[in-house]
Symmetry: C2
Subunit: 274 residues, 2 copies
């Protein structure tokens, strides 16, 4: 059966491009020609962000498969910021882009359920339900273990959505916990990789990838290569390319060809990277 990753792969093939554009708006970097139309209050900022994001989406939607808005850069403007986030997701979807909400949510069962409802599921009100952000993918944090992830997995099953679980992140200090070696010789990020394989084993789609997939930073090419081998059914979201220092040669190691042959020389069907 087709899953969320299959839809993403279709879009990547169609555009012949595995790049995801981050939508992490910085108000002070939005051009004045947009900013000057709106007030310098929270509502004005949100309106400026929406216009800027729409312009950006208009400029790129025909060459990229997906966008990744980072909710922190919206939340910092409160209620109005969340409005801008919602509008941005909606507009990107109207342009047939896959939306990956970068929210890195992680909490205990019932709370994870509420987060999942917001991002990829449904919110029930009486007998009715409402879609909230209704994106195709959301990023999640594994620190609380299986019962913090399960509600997301359930919604992935029910609604054909997907998640990217943080396995190895792109930041400098990611190794402080993620690289710690356990008694049996495996590192924490390898333990998480195994959990991700386990969580996703019933959700493998037509292309051989599970909709429960992984975030692996471009800034750690060695781990990227190693994890590519250990997670054959995981699609990789690879942050860190560009401003954070990851280069094309680094991220090649996280790609495979067609989900079957895994070497870095021949890239025909690409895993997604940002």
């Amino acid at each position: 059966m087709k899953n969320a990753i299959d839809n993403l792969i279709e879009k990547i093939k169609e555009k012949n491009n595995p790049t995801v554009i981050g939508l992490d708006p910085r108000y002070d970097m939005i051009p004045n020609c947009i900013k000057n139309k709106y007030g310098q209050d929270l509502k004005g900022v949100a309106d400026a962000i929406i216009e800027f994001n729409k312009d950006l989406i208009d400029a790129v939607y025909d060459i990229i498969p997906a966008v990744k808005p980072q909710i922190a850069f919206y939340e910092m403007f409160g209620v109005e910021g969340i409005r801008a986030f919602e509008e941005t997701c909606k507009y990107a979807k109207s342009k047939d882009l896959v939306v990956i909400a970068d929210m890195k949510r992680g909490d205990i069962g019932t709370t994870a359920e509420a987060y999942s409802n917001a991002a990829i599921g449904r919110t029930t009100i009486g007998e009715e339900f409402q879609k909230i952000f209704d994106v195709e993918f959301v990023t999640v944090n594994p620190y609380l273990g299986t019962d913090g992830i399960k509600p997301f997995v359930e919604d992935c099953k029910k609604y054909g959505k997907g998640i990217f679980v943080l396995v190895k992140t792109s930041n400098k200090s990611s190794g402080e916990l993620q690289d710690l070696e356990t008694k049996d010789g495996e590192k924490i990020y390898e333990k998480v990789a195994k959990l991700v394989n386990e969580w996703g084993k019933d959700l493998i789609g037509e292309n051989g990838y599970s909709s429960i997939s992984a975030v692996v930073g471009a800034t750690y090419p060695e781990q990227l290569k190693e994890l590519r081998e250990k997670m054959p059914h995981s699609y990789f979201l690879i942050p860190g390319y560009g401003a954070q220092g990851g280069k094309a040669a680094d991220i090649v190691l996280g790609f495979d060809e067609n989900g079957i042959r895994r070497n870095s020389k021949c890239i025909k069907k690409l895993n997604m990277c940002i």
Copy 2:
């Protein structure tokens, strides 16, 4: 110098009660006499939640020191839900309660900065700044290591705020990662405890506690006891009491007396528990 924990301790003494009430609204459990006043749409739900929370706060503000709204239960209602979250925090503060925003945020440096701005810091717009949620404390996730925590620590310094870092969570599967033993015999949650001690060492207040403190679940009394010893300068936020199965006898182990004597027999000045 007085820090956020000193202010919390003052309120705990004043009310003679270390209990924090969670504000995790479930729409279907709000009484009809409130729900029927409003529409069954997102705005109506948010208004019902606000009224319910205000009633609850009115009923308890004179006997408890603090409230802990869990943002997931607001986010699931989208923009309107976040409005309810903001209003709830504002109202609780107007009643002189300490607000602990349960957000479990964790991301790389610049993104963590944006989250911190929203929760405990300031959001800059041009030459001006805005306070967004402006709560006293926020919960954070340590999986990304130091550079995901530092921006929060900076805001704690600047604005006299505090954070509670997830060390050992209260859910069933928390052990899958948190209890893994590393090569040197220490468990992951102990490694996190050490990091928390390190992050908070310059922010110790008049009562001997750092404003960089810890979440330790009531459902794991053994770890609670052990961590109480290992984190003498950490105030503990202890979830899991009540619905999750933690009992009074379990949480006693997480308390100390006056931050100096640490045994479970004599509790005069209590660490906070929920």
